[in-house]
Every structure is written in structure tokens, then in C-alpha cells.
């Protein structure tokens, strides 16, 4: 366990801000607010791990999800439709890491900006029935300075691509070295007239800000980076927050209620420490950045006689409009070794299909990357074509033949905001604290499934054109789990239809801000973390201004 290096506050001290969560959003906000001169306590449910805790142990760290917490401790229930009863499923319904740095520690580090179109699609395409399709209350131009801030403060490698939105400053460092999957994606895509480009990644290709360059070890997806080259908030933001002497990272602190006073203002944040002892941290204001599932859950859980539907939920939209992004997978087997287990998961991608196109007959857009994302155990369980033998000499031989000779294309696509897709409190299943488990209700919109299929087909064409000896697919099916947790406390100008305003302030509670994936109004095309961090820099900027002006 890491020694706390920042300041220590007593729970009776009224601090300027309590930030709930230390991930992509919370880590940025804690650093920005403490740097701006405010006293900040960060409450994080997971442990504070040093980089030496991150290794390459696939069984513990990946298969058992050591960084995520045991599903026995934190069950999540799932149902496809509101009429169904939800159950704990065979897998995990919501993928996120529980530790200081949150999921920015274990993510793959694909780091796309949204495009200008993402913010204004409702105006562009009109309403889509059965959805809450809406424009964002902010534009790309308003967010751009903060995207650039992320590039230069977090550390992003990349090179300009043909479909990029405008940027005010170049990437701080060049792309990571291209892999065979990147070369093959380029070859196939170019034959088809498409325009692939280097993937922007939140992984350092050069030493930057006192952190070393990536050593190409290959263990990004699902793992923490032992050298700190992955630009998690744990590596890039938390040390700066602590160095201000005004920020305490209080790990293993599980918040279960935001308490308010008679005026309806947030007053205390109530949590359990690692031993289950209850504490309440007094504060002038709260920033909730616990992720798109946990933030909504905490607001619902904080219901009171004044706020019977949950805190900040007069609109009834807390927890609704959950969006996972679509994912589709094509696989190709090639003549020569790719050795894809080395280095980062993705080095090339294409955005030719980013915009929606009415000629396709449905709404949607996305990007395709060339990648390989297996580790030995995972590959042995799931990496072979569906008709491959599962045991015996033929299975063994095929594993040997395929492991270093395959790659994938991943299609990353839009999810429409559908009100019934949601997180809510499960009426019967409890977690290890005795809290109601998070219940997920999710069924991809028909347009989302059509878009997934569309990019799956394009991916197969690219692999064919690249010379794959064999191409197979993972059939598109409604998703039953997600790692991108978006939309559940959406931003908006109308307090009847959204949870927070354009500055992330809760419409109902003036000293409560919510900023993380839950703020998204539409899903983008996948890879939301860059936008979560940009929103966090922007939110912190405005929150600091409000605080200085006495407007909180």
C-alpha cells in the first residue's frame, strides 16, 4: 500500500471540496482544484497501489480482475428489458477498476477526441424515435482547449489523421512504433480506398514530464503499467495533486451517501473506511466522479425526504440513457508471424465511417482499429475460430499455429441514448457492504446493432484485402456488459431533461457537481476516456471560478 504523501484533513474540518472517485475525471479534478489553491479530499473506494504492484500475472490481474474487485463482493445484476427480473450473470456486467486512478489505470489507452459532429447530431439528423437523442450543451470548440490540455498534461502520443477535428496545438509526442497489425490494417484499408492513420494513445512514446517512455511490454488492456508510461491519473495527476500539500487521497473509502442540509445543499459525504467504520467528511462542495455507473447509483442511494427520487434527480433521468458504445470483432489469420503479444494493443485505425450516413439506412458511425488483445490464457480459451477443436492434439496444434499469426479489427460504434437502458438499485441483491447492488438494464438499439454489423463487415473486407489466409467473425449480438459507462447523469440546459448543467453543476443542488462518463449526452464512437478527462479539466476550471467568486 502506498504511503499517503499529501495532507491529512480531519473529517470535522470543512474542506473546500470532496471529490468522490480518483479515476479519469476525479484524478484530473483533484489535481486542478488543489493546484488552484483549494483544500481537497479525494474519497476512493479502492486501494492506493504503487507501480510495483502492477505485473504481468494474467491469472490474478486479468482473469480474476484483481484491480476490479471480486464479483462476489460487488455483484451486478443484468436484464435486457425493464419487464424482466435482473440476475447476476455469468460474467461481469460493468467493467471498471477499483483503485486510486480508477479505470484509467487498467484501460487500453485508446485516446480519441470526439469530433465536431458528435456534439450537434440531434440538430444534424433530427429526432430518432424511442431515444433521447440530443445535442450537447457545449460544442467541440468549447472543449478543444481542454482536449489540448489533456494532450500536454496527461501525455498523449499520436500524429494528425485525415478526419481529425481542429486542434490548437500538435501532439506532444509522435505515435508509438507500428506493429504488424497496424501495417496489415494499412495495407488492407488502402486497397479499399480508405485512409488509416496512427492511433492516438495515452501511452508515452517518449519520456515526458518525468515519466519514462513505453517499453512495449504488451500488457496494457486490463493491467496497470509498471513503469508509469500509461497516462493514468495515478501516474500523471495524483502525484501533482499531492504535491500541492492541499490534497488528501483517502483510499479504501467507500462513499454510500451524500448528505444535505435543510436548504438542500450537500453538506457531508458519508463513507466506510476499510474496516467498515462509518465516517462523514464535512465539505463546502462535492464533485462526484465515481464513473457512469457508480455516480448514478450514489445519487439514487442518497434519496431523502427532500429528494425522494434520489439526489439531483428531479428530472428522473439519473441512471437513465446508459450507453456502452458498440463493439464488433473480425479476426484474421496470416501467413507470417505478427507476434502481436508485444507492445500496445493498437497502433493504427481509421475513421472513414465516423459520420452517420443516411444512405446506410440507419443512424450510426464509428472507427475501426487493427489490434490483437489476447494474453496466453485468454487466447487458449477464446482466441481460435468458433469451429476449432477445444481439446486434444488438434487443439494444441492450432493454438501453436495461430497465437502469433492472428490479428483483429475492432469496430467501435455509437450507442443511442435509450431511456430504458439504465443503472438502478437492485431490489434484492446486496454487495459485501449490504448496499443494493447496481442493476443494469440494457438492450442495444436496432440502429446500434446495424452499425456494429456494418463495421464488422468492413473489418472482414480489410482483413481479406490485407491477405489474410482465413477470416472469421464474432457474430454481432446485443451486449450484456460494458466498459464504457456513459450518459447516466447527462448534461443539458433544461433541468427537466438532464441532471447537470453545462458546467456539470447539478440542476437541483448548487454545490454538487457531477463529472465523468455519466455526463455524456451522446456516446461518441468509442474510446471515451480522452473526452472524460477533457470534460474534467473544463469542469474544474469553471468550478474553481465559481468558488473564487463565491458562487457555490
Amino acid at each position: 500500500m502506498q504511503e499517503a504523501r499529501g495532507r491529512h484533513f480531519a473529517t470535522r474540518d470543512e474542506v473546500d471540496f470532496v471529490v468522490i472517485g480518483s479515476g479519469a475525471a476525479g484524478g484530473v479534478i483533484a489535481k486542478e482544484l488543489s493546484t488552484a489553491g483549494f483544500d481537497v479530499v479525494v474519497l476512493e473506494q479502492g486501494p492506493y497501489l504503487p507501480p510495483t504492484a502492477f505485473g504481468h500475472d494474467e491469472l490474478a490481474e486479468f482473469q480474476f480482475g484483481e484491480l476490479m474487485g471480486s464479483p462476489a463482493d460487488f455483484p451486478t445484476t443484468f436484464r435486457a428489458n425493464e419487464a424482466d427480473e435482473a440476475h447476476v450473470t455469468g460474467g461481469i456486467a460493468l467493467f471498471y477498476a477499483r483503485l486510486v486512478g480508477g479505470s484509467s489505470v487498467h484501460f487500453t489507452a485508446n485516446f480519441w477526441r470526439l469530433h465536431e459532429i458528435d456534439f450537434i447530431e440531434r440538430s444534424r439528423w433530427g429526432p430518432i424515435s424511442g431515444t433521447g437523442f440530443a445535442d450537447w450543451p457545449i460544442t467541440y470548440a468549447e472543449l478543444e482547449p481542454y482536449y489540448t490540455k489533456v494532450d500536454w498534461e496527461i501525455g498523449v502520443s499520436g500524429a494528425p489523421g485525415p478526419f481529425d477535428p481542429p486542434r490548437s496545438r500538435p501532439y506532444p509526442m509522435p505515435p508509438l512504433p507500428v506493429k504488424s497489425s497496424g501495417i496489415l490494417l494499412e495495407r488492407g484499408a488502402r486497397k479499399l480506398g480508405l485512409r488509416p492513420f496512427p492511433a492516438p494513445m495515452a501511452i508515452l512514446s517518449q519520456a515526458f514530464a518525468g515519466r519514462p517512455a513505453c517499453i512495449n511490454c504488451g500488457f496494457c488492456l486490463g493491467f496497470g503499467c509498471e513503469v508509469g508510461a500509461k497516462s493514468s491519473t495515478l501516474a500523471a495527476m495524483i502525484p501533482l495533486a499531492e504535491a500541492t500539500g492541499r490534497c488528501e487521497i483517502r483510499a479504501e473509502s467507500t462513499v454510500f451517501r451524500i448528505a444535505h442540509d435543510e436548504a438542500g445543499r450537500a453538506r457531508e459525504v458519508v463513507y466506510w473506511d476499510r474496516d467498515g467504520v462509518e465516517h462523514a467528511q464535512r465539505t463546502k462542495a462535492v464533485v462526484l466522479s465515481a464513473n457512469g455507473a457508480e455516480s448514478a447509483r450514489l445519487l439514487l442511494e442518497s434519496a431523502s425526504s427532500m429528494y425522494p427520487n434520489g439526489l439531483a434527480n428531479s428530472s428522473g433521468t439519473v441512471g437513465k440513457y446508459l450507453m456502452f458504445n458498440g463493439l464488433s470483432y473480425a479476426h484474421g489469420y496470416f501467413e507470417h508471424p505478427l507476434n502481436e503479444y508485444k507492445s500496445v494493443q493498437v497502433t493504427r485505425l481509421l475513421h472513414d465511417f465516423y459520420d452517420s450516413d443516411p444512405r446506410r439506412g440507419f443512424y450510426g458511425g464509428g472507427g475501426i482499429d487493427g489490434r490483437w488483445q489476447y494474453y496466453p490464457l485468454w487466447f487458449a480459451n477464446a482466441g481460435l475460430p468458433p469451429d476449432a477443436p477445444r481439446w486434444g492434439a488438434a487443439y494444441k496444434r492450432m493454438l501453436s499455429e495461430y497465437f502469433n499469426y492472428t490479428m483483429m479489427t475492432n469496430g467501435h460504434t455509437t450507442s443511442l441514448p435509450v431511456a430504458s437502458n439504465s443503472v438502478s438499485l437492485d431490489p434484492s441483491v446486496k454487495d459485501k457492504w449490504g448496499r443494493q447492488a447496481i442493476r443494469v438494464t440494457y438492450h442495444d438499439h436496432a440502429d446500434d446493432l446495424a452499425m456494429m454489423q456494418f463495421l464488422l463487415d468492413r473489418g472482414k473486407e480489410i482483413l481479406d484485402a490485407a491477405g489474410a489466409k482465413r477470416v472469421w467473425e464474432t457474430p454481432v449480438a446485443p451486449q450484456t456488459n460494458g466498459a464504457h459507462l456513459l450518459g447516466t447523469c447527462r448534461m443539458g440546459n433544461d433541468s427537466r431533461e438532464s441532471v447537470v448543467d453545462r458546467y456539470h453543476r447539478a440542476h437541483d443542488v448548487p454545490n454538487l457537481f457531477v463529472c465523468d462518463g455519466s455526463s455524456f449526452v451522446t456516446s461518441g464512437r468509442g474510446q471515451p476516456t480522452m473526452t472524460i478527462m477533457a470534460l474534467a479539466f473544463r469542469a474544474a476550471d469553471h468550478i474553481a471560478r465559481f468558488a473564487r467568486r463565491g458562487e457555490i
Binding site: E58, K179, K342, W391, A393, A483
Partner: protein
């Protein structure tokens, strides 16, 4: 154990998604850490933690059906059985009862298919293969398969994957870091410039 739990442990992952990797419901990562001393025990040939010699012999024969020894080493040489024993004594302890029930059932199947015989491991290899075909859809075999794959490819610190036999089979060469070029096609591209 219910069939739903079995399917969780099966972590078959019908899709290529990380999201479909299977997850064992373990008590705590600390239990897993405790299993990491397995290598030492295996090297010293200490007695098995939870399996009897007889159970271990049967399970090892099943593992060898999944990864047979042919021109390359298989589950036997990789010491998969030591991984299994350690796992069933720690993070996979909840599966032990099901494994034992399955072994009893296997013995009955052996006896009914090969009158006079009662041990799977004593049958000729091809007869074992034919029996595995009979049980390959059972939850018992799914459990054995899951543990065997782990024992073959998990870090050798857990007692299996001896001498990195599993990793060598795949062509996975774990180094702390790599330098480009990584594979044939990026090397080819670099050379053509």
C-alpha cells in the same frame, strides 16, 4: 455448484471481447497470492494439498487428453496437476466437490464401457479419448478443462506451466520489454523504406 456458476468458471468467451473473459468468483486476491508459492511445493515433490494420489492420477490423464504429449510436451510435462491441486486447495476450493463427484461418475462410465476396468488413467490413450468425447459437454469436463488451461498458461509461479512449456507452445516469449520490429510485417515495412 450450479450450472450458472460453472459457466462463469468456464470463461469460454464466445466473443473476442475482454468483456466476455470469464471470471472466477474468488474470495480475495490474497487467496490467489497464497497459491503463488506452489512452484516450491512442486519442485520438492511434496504430497498434494487436497487431491489423493488416485484423484491426481485420473485428473492428470484427463489433462493429458486436453494437451497430449506428442512432438511437443503436454499437460503432464507442464505439471498441470500441481497447478490443479494448488488451485483446488485455495481459490478454486469451491470446485473440489464437483470435481470429486465427476471423478466418481467417470469411474462408473469407465466400468460400463470397459467391463473389468475402473480407472480412466489405466485405459489405452485412444479409449480415454473416446470417453472424453462422451463427457465433453458435462460441467465436470468444463471444470477440468478450465483448470487445465490455467495450469498450462498461467504464470509458472502457480505450479503449472513448468519450464514455460505452455508459453513455448504458443510462441509467447515473456520478456520485460521489447524493441521494434515486433513481427514480420512491420519488419518488412521498415526494410522497404
Amino acid at each position: 455448484m450450479t450450472d450458472r456458476e460453472v459457466s462463469r468458471r468456464d470463461f469460454v468467451g464466445q466473443s473476442g471481447s475482454v468483456l466476455s473473459a470469464a471470471w472466477l468468483a474468488i474470495q480475495s486476491p490474497a487467496v490467489l497470492a497464497a497459491a503463488r508459492d506452489a512452484r516450491r511445493a512442486a519442485d520438492l515433490r511434496l504430497p498434494f494439498d487436497v487431491l489423493s494420489e488416485d484423484e491426481a492420477t485420473e485428473l492428470e490423464a484427463l489433462a493429458a487428453q486436453i494437451f497430449p504429449t506428442d512432438e511437443t510436451p503436454g499437460a503432464r510435462e507442464a505439471g498441470v496437476i500441481y497447478f490443479m491441486d494448488k488451485a483446488l486447495g485455495s481459490f478454486a476450493a469451491s470446485q473440489l466437490a464437483g470435481i470429486r463427484t465427476g471423478l466418481v461418475d467417470l469411474r462408473q462410465r469407465v466400468a460400463s464401457k470397459h467391463p473389468g476396468a475402473d480407472r480412466f488413467s489405466a485405459l489405452p490413450f485412444s479409449d480415454q479419448t473416446s470417453l472424453v468425447r462422451d463427457i465433453e459437454q458435462t460441467s465436470f469436463f468444463a471444470r477440468v478443462q478450465s483448470l487445465t488451461v490455467m495450469g498450462m498458461f498461467a504464470d509458472p509461479a502457480y505450479g503449472g506451466n513448468r519450464d514455460r512449456i505452455g508459453w513455448t507452445l504458443l510462441g509467447f516469449d515473456p520478456q520485460p520489454q521489447y524493441e521494434p520490429p515486433f513481427g514480420h510485417y512491420d519488419a518488412e515495412e521498415r526494410d522497404s523504406r
